[in-house]
Amino acid sequence: MARSTPWRRALTATLTAGALAVPLAACSGGADAPADSGEATADAASALEEGGEITVWAWDPTLESVAKDFEAEHPNVTVNLENVGTGNDQYTALQNAIAAGDGVPDVAQIEFYALPQFALSDALTDLTAYGADQLDGTFTPGPWGAVTQGGGVHALPTDSGPMALFYNKRVFDKYDIEVPTTWDEYVEAARKLHEADPKAYLTNDVGDAGFTTSLIWQAGGRPYQVDGTDVTIDFTDAGSQQFADTWQTMIDDELVAPVGSWSDEWYQGLSDGSIASLVIGAWMRGNLESSVPDASGDWAVAPMPQWEDGGQATAENGGSSLAVPAASENADLAWAFLEYATVGDGIATRVDEGAFPATTAELEDPEFREQEFEYFGGQKVNEVLADSASQVAEGWQYLPFQVYANSIFNDTVGQAYVSGTTLTDGLAAWQEQSATFGNDQGFAVNQ
């Protein structure tokens, strides 16, 4: 599964339960979203004045400071920040609360890939009513495309994961490996490293839906086409095939470490150099700093390897947003918080704490771009990452049931990693099982 936030693993230990026991604020507040944005802002302002309580479901730790600052600025407002689980666990809780119509939070963190699922069932407030549609251009194209998929603005991006090549410079130098600029070079680098040191691998992979879809995205594949409830899934397009061919070589020649991401082995490998690179979302910067402290000074960042010589396309890997569930009883107040956290002063707080922003202003800010990271040997890492954010290929769509599709990725595509099945066969099986699920759910998939 795509893990969008660096702190996810650290958090699993501190998850709090009791999702359904959330005490909902009994305070009043204009629940109906006004049609006109000026009016909405006025309503949000009066809601802030009047005060009240909102419940926020999120696992992003930087939101803690944001909530505190927000409360300090608006003394009448109380923000109950609750961590009801990370990723899928939270979506399950949210889905249940929405189905029950009770205990629904006012603001919920939702990763981009899961957003269409909630948006489609009208479970989220369309933020156009608050003038969110005018924020086009505030965010980089990847995240903005994700929150506006299918029309309307379903959420506002909090962080993004434009991809880049994180590599262990010490290992690369030791074995005289050049930083690969294309995927073909990447495969050769993997071969060279593994031959030089049979215990070392250029990267790890045991089958990860987020990684696979992101690479297909970069290669120009658009396997998912969604138009309302008409859905097409096609993993036979050129981009998907290009990915499958290249990555099949990596698997066949045993050039990927059979280590699952986020496992203890994974962190150990990143630390001791036996996993020498990762092509992954920009949020990995903060994760390396905090979770792999021993390798400080070893790592560096380079642009994502390309499918064609001289290409510039990148893709997003993970990334989250904040949304206002339609069942929120404090939508105006919720919007005020959302605005503060995603386009207001909250951004600076979050960037300070290590989040990778999704807003163009921050990404273009010279101070942000030119920050030197001691962990990365003084490299201006943000420059590479911010450039990647502006080069994300457009037109990617996720399925309105991507959460389920990702959950069966290892049943299908994952088989290519442990048996004689090829990636192409695995993708075909994934396509078929996803389509079956979609049709069972009332969509018209590949019909």
Partner: protein, 306 residues
Amino acid sequence: MTTTSPPTTASTPTVVHRRSRRRWTGWMFVGPFMAVFALVFLAPIVYSLYLSVFRTQMVGGTTFVGLDNYARAMSDPQFWEGLGRVSLFLVVQVPIMLGIALLVALAIDSGRLYGKSFFRISIFMPYAVPAVVASLMWGFMYGTRFGLVGNLNEALGISLPDPLSPGLVLASIGNIVTWEFVGYNMLIFYAALRVVPHSLYEAAEIDGAGQWRVIGAIKLPAIRGALVIATIFSIIGSFQLFNEPSILQSLAPNAITTAFTPNLYAYSLSFSGQQYNYSATVAIIMGLITMVIAYVVQLRGMRKEA
């Protein structure tokens, strides 16, 4: 009927009145129990049955579909594969586990073992370890890179097969379950053996029977009830296999699919797929299959005993 009731037929109304009063008094006594029973035992089953005849779609909402979900389960290869897997698990793992448990119980009961309380406690100990912890522990040992298996490979320069590969993962799970439950079953057998009257052993000794003969002719027949019970528990446990594969899934995501066991399948259906209706159907069918098999085993076990 009571002898005090009037012989005349004219008193019928009184009888009816008395009967109804009697009935209500009875209900007052069993009422609290019945209420809790209905709420705790019947309601979940009824609710599952109710869920299983509907279908909720992301597009289109909820519709009544009758037995469609059951028909779908009948022809669902993932469900039957999972069932086949736990059945294989049942016929291989349960005899091994019960065999070891019986052997240990007989050894401890024989009185020839030095330090038998120590063995009894240490063999029972794994049962006190929560299944989740046990699976995690074994999962680390199974690791071929940093785990015990990996260490062995490195120290001895050998290449042991990966216990978490698709071909071996079921056996690895069987190993964990055996480790966990040998002690529990041993205790059931041992408790049954303790109540066998010693006079029988003395009589056998006088007749010149050896230990093996005593085991075959006295001990095993005496604990047949315990054997049947342990077998039924194990059958239910096998069909409900969930904790161990669910925990190991994060270590071997490609080997343990989302439909690895029927329980895991039901779980994935409802928690990743929001298919509560079909999930309830799978749960009900599994419940029925388990009941039927457990009942057949019980019938067989009891018939022999009679």
